[in-house]
């Protein structure tokens, strides 16, 4: 089952849960599950975060597959000049 880690700021919305395993085959499924578990996180997941899946950064990639043994980190979005 993919292992999800919340970095600093995200934990505010998870009641300080730092990590957990979530059954999800892609980012959208992951967000749905996380949104159910953490209602405060739900409205901001898609616009506020990118995910690092096994160290690789994915922005706006809801359909990105997640392997069962993957480590997924929620990262606040970064934009440039």
């Amino acid at each position: 089952m993919p292992h999800v880690i919340f970095m600093g700021e995200a934990r505010r919305f998870t009641g300080d849960v730092a990590e957990l395993d979530v059954e999800a085959g892609n980012v959208m499924q992951l967000y749905r599950k996380l949104g159910e578990r953490f209602p405060e996180l739900k409205p901001i997941l898609e616009d506020g975060f990118s995910v690092a899946i096994d160290g690789e950064m994915y922005e706006d990639s809801l359909l990105q597959p997640i392997k069962p043994d993957a480590e997924v980190i929620l990262v606040p979005k970064i934009a440039g000049g």
Binding site: M7, P43, E56, Y58, P76, I78, G80, G81
Partner: protein, 766 residues
């Protein structure tokens, strides 16, 4: 000219990596290229904006009746012409698009929040009449106390900009409104444990001034609205598609009814990501039923657009005696300007990220003050934090008598390093780069009296995101490429090189056009060093899709299967001798026969690029300080950067050089100066002192090419990184020239002279 650059790990290319002339070069050296202010339409009106002279004031009333009576005035807009849009959900990322904020920033509603805040706009038959009309608009203000510095803005008794803003990210939830929009945190490992193990701990505070992007072309647009509800907007923008989205939202227009065309753009550096006058111009055009041109003056550019955040930064780093860093902590207090959204996320994600560190903790404060809303500026948010980080690392190196490059080698990120955001690096060239610095003749060149050498590194994670490309093969075999990113620094040349390389046709047979919003799918801004990476990927994919059409047609012609045909040197050829003896078919032949072989040949790509990688740089600088005046002369400068693969080495070097010189201005002289009333005192190029040609030396460049495996040619975004190291590098050089530690930007002559004299007094006292 330098030799052509070769990628170490990539095969020899014909156009990629070569110094090809840029396709838009002739237009730009002859004055033919059309920028924002260069469009003239029949019947065009001129728009001007009335701006608040107060830093903070309630707007009691606005009366434009006298202005409307002036002959030649055709329309006036105020806050009443724009709907108040609901606030967005608690925004999170750095590019906060809170529609309520956007409507208030383009034109003040309840309050004017900074000197220069737009209050009304007029359209008239001449500039002069428009200017005169502004003086006839009566605005009644109730002036409120203001606050300019973020630390002051955090105090309990500070004037509050937004009564409905309660700090996000603190427990328990605050009951009082605050200028602090949010507190952001990031953490990795165990910082306390790390500091406990440290042999040396340096804890310093740093301060940087707000600085402007300083593009030479003021914001400019021409709007032309039709009675059928549609409108066209021509403007200088870093992203026509984003402008379309924001303008349509603010104006309540269906997105598809607004067509935005990006003019040539005279620089942006992040400052042409937000909309300012564009929605006002469209509304004026709707009301006046004529085209409206709106061009900012330089004064308006300084007072109302950009800049980037000024900052207070605290950095604490602990290291072992051998230079190994065991804990790193940062507290970032950034000005957001009048509306939330300082570049904290990027700062947090990048500030320690070129190092392989176990224990990191970062806290950031996003603070509203009575200044223009900050805009992105090249690696937004990162240079201020990096100034502190690199300064402390240099101090640790000095204290431990370790060479500044060696201490970085000891801590350098490498393949497999995981940064504070959880990003695990693929191959990166930082160690290779640091070795190159040590081997460079600049590194050990002798220094004279009052001279010093400085060194610093910097990190940027370049962006990916949505890009589209359409490639049409014409009947003579020439190619038209449509892509969606305004070309600010020569990106057309890179796109043409990649297309020519893929198709195997001469570079000059590819013509690149920047599409308007009606002609191509959504393409994200020219920003975040994403264009050659992300749009480059789209362009390559579009070319490969066109090749597939060609190969399919050759296969059909030869009666073989498509996989039996390969594309090589601009021809469809049998994949092997076994396929049969068929004469290769060139792109031009296929193009000529296209009408009889299935129709036009084209390739498309609509992608959302991911897989971007770190882009790391390191700068080396020599200075000579005049100890009697505090004047710093720049003697020598070398930029090292891991560029992945330099598609257009000329323009990659250009990014490295331009970013470095912007950083030098930031380090030495550029700053926003306010008076006691919160009015900007230096809203012009004379007193906002950007570097001029005689201020700087040649900027030497060393490109390290460790290809990014996620891009077909190994590209890493290169534009942002070069503005991250210069501030720390040049201040480090000044420190070494005068034997002092310095912590404030800009280190302008009055400040430096004072530091020198204070240092002298301190020494005398000891």
């Amino acid at each position: 000219m330098p030799d052509d650059v070769k990628s170490a790990d990539i095969k020899e290319f014909k156009y990629v990596g070569k110094r090809n002339p840029r396709p838009d070069g002739v237009d730009k050296v002859t004055g033919r290229a059309k920028y924002g202010a260069d469009l003239l339409l029949p019947g065009m009106l001129y728009g001007r904006v009335l701006r608040s002279p107060h830093a903070h004031a309630k707007i009691i009333s606005i009366d434009a009746s006298e202005a409307l009576k002036l002959a030649g005035v055709k329309a006036v807009v105020t806050r009443d012409d724009f709907k108040d849009l609901p606030k967005a959900q608690p925004p999170f990322g750095p590019m906060i698009h809170d529609a309520a904020d956007v409507t208030r920033n383009i034109i003040a509603r309840e309050k004017a929040l900074y000197d220069g805040h737009a209050v009304a706009a007029v359209a008239a038959t001449s500039e002069a009449i428009a200017k005169k009309a502004l003086k006839l608009i009566k605005v009644e203000y109730e002036v409120l106390p203001h606050v300019i510095d973020p630390v002051d803005a955090m105090k309990d008794d500070a004037p509050i900009l937004h009564e409905d803003q309660f700090t996000v990210g603190v427990e328990p939830k605050p009951s009082k409104p605050s200028n602090v929009f949010r507190v952001m945190k990031a953490e990795k490992g165990d910082v306390e444990k790390g500091f406990a193990e440290a042999d040396i701990i340096i804890d310093r505070e740093f301060k940087t001034a707000a600085v402007h992007q300083g593009y030479i072309e003021p914001h400019a647009c021409v709007a032309n609205a039709s009675e059928d509800g549609s409108a066209e907007l021509w403007c200088s923008t870093q992203g026509q598609f984003n402008f379309r989205a924001v303008c349509a939202t603010v104006l309540g227009m269906p997105v598809g009814k607004l067509k935005v065309t990006s003019s040539e753009i005279g620089g942006g550096f992040g400052g042409k990501l937000p909309v300012y006058g564009e929605p006002l111009a469209i509304r004026l055009s709707q009301k006046a039923h004529r085209p409206v041109k709106m061009v900012m003056t330089r004064d308006e550019v300084f007072r109302s657009t950009g800049p980037t955040s000024g900052s207070h930064v605290r950095i604490k780093i602990g290291a072992k005696n051998d230079g190994r860093i065991v804990a790193a902590e940062g507290v970032l207090t950034y000005q957001a300007g009048a509306f939330k959204g300082a570049g904290l996320a990027a700062a947090i994600g990048c500030m320690f990220s070129e190092y392989d560190l176990e224990n990191i903790r970062i806290v950031g404060y996003d603070v509203c003050v009575n200044r223009p809303k900050v805009a992105a500026y090249r690696a937004p948010g990162v240079p201020m934090a990096a100034f502190g980080v690199e300064g402390v690392i240099n101090e640790i190196a000095t204290k431990l008598s370790i060479d500044p490059v060696d201490i970085r080698l000891k801590n350098a990120a490498k393949q497999g390093t995981v940064n504070v955001s959880g990003i695990k690096y693929g191959p990166i060239g930082f160690i290779q780069m640091l070795e190159a610095v040590k081997a460079h003749p600049h590194y050990n060149a002798p220094l004279g009296k009052n001279q010093g050498r400085g060194f610093a590194a910097g990190y940027w994670m370049h962006a990916g995101g949505m890009s589209c490309a359409t490639l049409n093969v014409q009947d003579d075999g020439t190619v038209n490429l449509l892509e969606g990113n305004p070309d600010i620094g020569g990106s057309r040349a890179s796109m043409a090189a990649m297309v020519a390389e893929e198709l195997g046709i001469p570079y000059d047979k590819v013509r690149v056009t920047i599409a308007d919003t009606a002609s191509l799918g959504f393409t994200l801004f020219t920003a975040g060093s994403r264009v050659t990476y992300a749009t480059g990927m789209a362009v390559v994919e579009a070319a490969r899709n066109a090749i597939k059409v060609c190969c399919d047609r050759a296969a059909a012609a030869w009666g073989v299967t498509p996989d039996q045909v390969k594309w090589e040197e601009g021809h469809a050829k049998p994949a092997s001798a076994n396929v049969g003896d068929f004469a290769p078919m060139s792109l031009s032949e296929l193009a000529k026969k296209a009408p009889m072989m299935g129709g036009p040949i084209a390739g498309h790509a609509e992608i959302n690029a991911t897989g971007q990688g770190p882009a790391i740089g390191a700068h080396l600088v020599d200075v000579e300080t005049d100890p009697e005046t505090g004047f710093v002369k720049l003697l020598r400068y070398t930029v090292f950067q891991d560029v992945g693969c330099a598609i257009s080495p000329d323009y990659v070097e250009g990014q490295m050089q331009g970013g470095a010189v912007q950083g030098l201005g930031w380090a030495l002289n550029e700053e926003y100066v306010y008076n006691a009333k919160g009015q900007l005192q230096n809203a012009g190029f004379l007193d906002y002192r950007m570097p001029v040609a005689s201020d700087v030396p040649m900027i030497d460049t060393v490109m390290i090419e460790e290809p990014n495996p996620n891009h077909p040619y190994g590209v890493r975004g290169v534009g942002e990184t070069p503005i991250v190291p210069p501030q720390a590098a040049v201040i480090n050089a000044v420190e070494n020239s005068v034997g002092l530690r310095l912590s404030e930007l800009p280190m302008s002559p009055p400040k430096l002279l004072k530091a020198i004299e204070d240092g002298r007094l301190k020494k005398a006292a000891e």
